[in-house]
Amino acid sequence: MNDQETVKAALADLAFLGDRATGAGMHRMAYSRDWSPRFKDMADLPDIVVVPHDTEEVVQIVRVALKHELPVIPFAGGTGMGGGIVAWKGGIMLETKGMNKVLEVDPANMSVTVQTGITIWELNERLAPYGLWLPHQPESKRACTVGAAIGCDNDSTFGVRYGKILDCLTNAVVVTGRGEAVRLGHRKASFSSTGYKLMHLLVAAEGTLGVVTEATLRVVTLPKTREVRAWVFRTLIDGARALERTLASGMSVESAHLNCRQRLHFYTHAYRQKFGKEPEVPDWAESILFLSFAGDEDVVQFSLNKAKAILEGEFQAEFVQEQELVEGYWDSKHRLAFLPFKQKWPDSQREKKFGAADVGVPMGRLEEMYRAFLDLSSKYDQQILGMTVYNESPNKVSPSISFAIFVDDSTHQAVQKFYGYVREMSLKAVELEGTMSTYIGDGDRLGGFNECEHGLSFQYMKELKALFDPKNIMNPGKKFESRWISAKC
C-alpha cells in the first residue's frame, strides 16, 4: 500500500479515464491474487485499477505512475502460477483486457496484428474464418491473453512443432517505464540480423520492462485433420529417446507430452466419471507418451503408422488401446471440453491446490530430475500430483517439465514448505545443467534467488531493467526480489 495522499493525487491525474480508473475497494479486491500457491486468506490489493483502451492511454497512465512513483502491474489472464501479477507493493493495476482489438488480419503475409489484451481463444475465433490460427496454445488459453503469453513465456501444447510465443512474435509495441511507446522487432519479417534483439527481452519479462500493448504474430494454416495417440514405456528416458528417434525419422510431430503414472490420474477425471474405473495401464509402465499429428489426412495416417512402428518396434512401447483415455486427456489438454461441473479443477482443489516446480533440464538428465522430484516432495511433505514433460522447441526433445504437487495452503507454514520444495528443485535443475523455470517465470517466488542460476549475468539484467525502467515502477517485486525464497544459494 502506498501513501493515501499520493494515491489520491494519482487518481486525480487519471481522471481522463473516467470510470475506467478507480480506487474503490471492491475493484481492488477483485485484482488481489492469481493462481499461485499462497495462504488461503492472502490478498494483495493494488491501490488503483485502470482499464486503458489503447497504447496512448497506457503511455499517459505510466507517466502518471512515474510522476507519483507508483508501481504499474499489467494484469492479463490472472491464471499465473508464480505470483507475476500480484500487487504486493500496491500501485496501479493495469487491466490489459480492455485492449482486445484485432488491428489487422493479413492472410497474404500469414500475419495478424492485435492489441495484446485479446485472449488466445478469442484471437483464434477471429482467425478461423481465414483458415488460420495462432499455434501458441497454453492450457490457460481461455483466459490467457497474447500479452500474458509474451510476458510469461508460458507453455504451448504444440511447442514441439511450432515452438512458443517467441517463434510467432515478429513485432511488438511496449510502453516502457520511461513512459514512452517503443516499437521493437522486425515488422512482419520472421527474423532480423540488424541491431539487438530487444523484442526478445519482452518475452518472460513479466511486465518488468514495460507494458506490451500491441503485437504482430506470424500465424499458420489450420490443419485439416488431427489425431492423438498414446503409448506406455518401461522408463522415462525410453519415452524421451523414442520421441527423439521419431523426430529424427523426418516426421513432423505436432505435440509430445510425456507423463509419469501419477500425472495421468489428474488428466483422466472424465474417463473415471464415464466408466467408473481407473484407465487400464500396465503395472510395469512408468511413463505414457501422448503424440498428436496434424495436417492432411494421408500424411497424418502415414505418420501414425510410422510412429507406431518406431515406438513399438524399437522401444518396446505398448500402444494404449483405450482411445477413450486418450480423448479424455486431449479434452483436458487442448479442447478444454470438460464436462461442466465435473472438470478436473476446481473439484480436485477444494482441499489442496495445484502447485509446481517448472524446471527445465537436458533430456539426458530426466531420470535424475524425476528421482529428485520423488525425494524432495517427500522431504517437504508434499503430496505428488505428477510429472509432465512438454517439448517446446520445434522438432527437438526439449523438456519443459511440470513437477506438480497438491499444495496445502491452509497455513503459512504449509505454504512455506511448498516454496522450500520449489527452492531445492530449482537448485537441483541448475546442478543438472538446466534452468529453474521454463513456463511459470520468476514471479514473486524466484526473484533474486535466480542469481544462483545466472551468476554475473544477473547484474547485466539489472542494468537492462534500469534502461527500460529507471524508477523501478514496472511490476516491482518480481524478477529481482522474492517474498518466498531467500536469495542464498
Binding site: 477483485a30 485484482y31 482499464v51 490472472g78 483486457k97 475465433e125 481461455r142 472438470q343 482443489q349
Partner: protein, 357 residues
C-alpha cells in the same frame, strides 16, 4: 462485523474459486465482454464475496451496483463446478439486509407481491382445454404472441387449458428478496393448485426453469411437445438461413438445445451456429433484472449478441423467449447504423405458425 449467514453457506465454494483462478468463467461472461473488468466476471465477484466475509469490504451502494450488474445467465456456472448463481443471489440478499437494494428491484418485487404479475396485462388470457398451459407474465402481456402459440399447439393436436395464473416470481428471488419469494411461491401454489399434480406445458423459459427447479413441478416446455409431434405434420418449407439464440433458461438450465434446432431444420431452415450456442450460449441482455437497473449495460450486451450473428454471416436470429426477442431487437436497432444492416430477430412460434398446415 456483519454475520452474513446466507453467504457463509458457500464459504467453501468461494475460497475454492479464490484459490483456483482458472478464468474459464471470465472473458466470455456477457457482462465482462462489455465492462472488461474482473470485478464484473464471476471470479471477481467471488473475491468480492470473500472480501465481505473477511470484513475487507463493507456493504456499500457501489458493491450493490456491481452485484446488480449480473445477468444471472449462468454462463459462469456452466463453465465451473461451483454454485455461482446461488452465491450471487446470497450476496444480493446480504446486501439487501444491510440496507443496499435497488429501489427499482424493490418496486418490481412489491408489484409482483401486490398484484401477482410482473407486467400489466390487457385482459388475462384464459382458454378451456385439456392440457394445462402456464403462460407466465411476459406472454400474458402479449396477446398476439399467445394467439400464435395456441394456434401452433392446436395444429399439432394439443388442446391447451389456460386458467388463472400468478407470477412464478423468479425475479423476486433472483434479486435477493428471499422471504418475499417464499410468500409468492405459497400464493402461486394456492392459485394454480388444481394443476400441480399434472404435467404442465410452459412457454416462458424462465418460468419453466423456476417451476421445475424451485417449485419442483412436472413441467414440459411446449416446444419439446411440439418437436415430438412434428414428424406427423404437413409443413410448408421456409427456405432461408438463420441462427438460433438459445435463451439461457431454456438451453443452459433446462437442456432444451436440440429440439428447437430439430424444429428449425424440419421447417426447411438452414441453421448456422454462432460461436456461443447450446449450453454455452450467451445472454441477450435481458436477464437478472439488469434491464431495470442498468439499461445501457443490457443494450450493450444485446448488441454483442447481434455482433455474434453477424460474425457468422447471418442476418436472421430465431429465438424462443418473450424476453430475448424484444431485448435482441432493441440491440439490433441500436446497432443497425454501425453495421449498415438490420439483423432481424424472429420468434420460433411465429415461424412454426407460418409453416404448419
Amino acid at each position: 462485523m456483519t454475520e452474513y449467514s446466507s453467504l457463509k453457506e458457500y464459504v467453501d465454494d468461494i475460497y475454492t474459486c479464490n484459490r483456483t483462478r482458472c478464468g474459464f468463467c471470465s472473458v466470455e461472461c456477457p457482462v465482462f465482454r462489455v465492462k472488461r473488468m474482473e470485478t464484473y466476471a464471476s471470479r471477481g465477484r467471488m473475491l468480492i464475496a470473500r472480501g465481505l466475509l473477511e470484513g475487507v469490504l463493507e456493504p456499500s451502494p457501489e458493491i450493490q451496483e456491481v452485484m446488480d450488474d449480473c445477468l444471472m445467465c449462468g454462463y459462469c456456472q456452466a463453465r465451473c463446478a461451483l454454485d455461482n448463481l446461488h452465491i450471487f443471489s446470497a450476496v444480493r440478499q446480504e446486501l439487501r439486509e444491510a440496507g443496499f437494494a435497488s429501489p427499482k428491484h424493490e418496486k418490481t418485487a412489491n408489484k409482483i407481491l401486490d398484484e401477482g404479475t410482473l407486467f400489466d396485462r390487457p385482459i388475462p388470457y384464459r382458454r378451456v382445454g385439456t392440457t394445462p398451459l402456464y403462460l407466465g407474465c411476459a406472454y400474458q402481456s402479449k396477446p398476439q404472441e399467445v394467439q400464435t402459440i395456441v394456434s401452433v399447439l392446436e395444429k399439432v393436436g394439443i388442446d391447451p387449458l389456460v386458467s388463472d395464473e400468478v407470477c412464478c416470481s423468479y425475479i423476486v428471488g433472483a434479486v435477493g428478496f428471499d422471504d418475499e419469494y417464499a410468500q409468492a411461491q405459497a400464493r402461486f401454489r394456492q392459485v394454480y393448485g388444481s394443476h400441480l399434480d399434472k404435467e404442465i406445458l410452459t412457454v416462458c423459459p424462465t418460468c419453466t426453469a423456476t417451476l421445475r427447479d424451485e417449485y419442483h413441478l412436472n413441467v414440459k416446455h411446449a416446444l419439446v411437445a411440439v418437436a415430438e409431434k412434428l414428424q406427423d405434420m404437413r409443413i410448408r418449407p421456409l427456405s432461408r438461413q438463420v441462427t438460433y439464440h438459445d435463451p439461457c433458461h431454456l438451453g443452459r438450465m433446462l437442456g432444451v438445445v436440440d429440439e428447437p434446432r430439430q424444429i428449425l431444420r424440419a421447417l426447411g431452415l438452414e441453421v448456422v451456429e454462432m460461436e456461443h450456442h447450446g449450453i454455452f450460449s450467451t445472454c441477450c441482455g435481458g436477464g437478472g433484472g439488469v434491464l431495470e437497473v442498468d439499461r445501457n449495460l443490457a443494450i450493450e450486451v444485446s448488441k454483442n449478441r447481434i455482433r455474434d450473428a453477424v460474425a457468422v454471416g447471418v442476418s436472421t436470429i430465431v429465438t424462443a423467449c418473450p424476453t430475448c426477442q424484444p431485448t435482441l431487437l432493441r440491440g439490433a436497432g441500436r446497432l443497425a447504423n454501425e453495421l449498415g444492416q438490420f439483423v432481424d430477430v424472429v420468434d420460433l412460434w411465429e415461424l412454426l405458425d407460418q409453416a404448419l398446415d
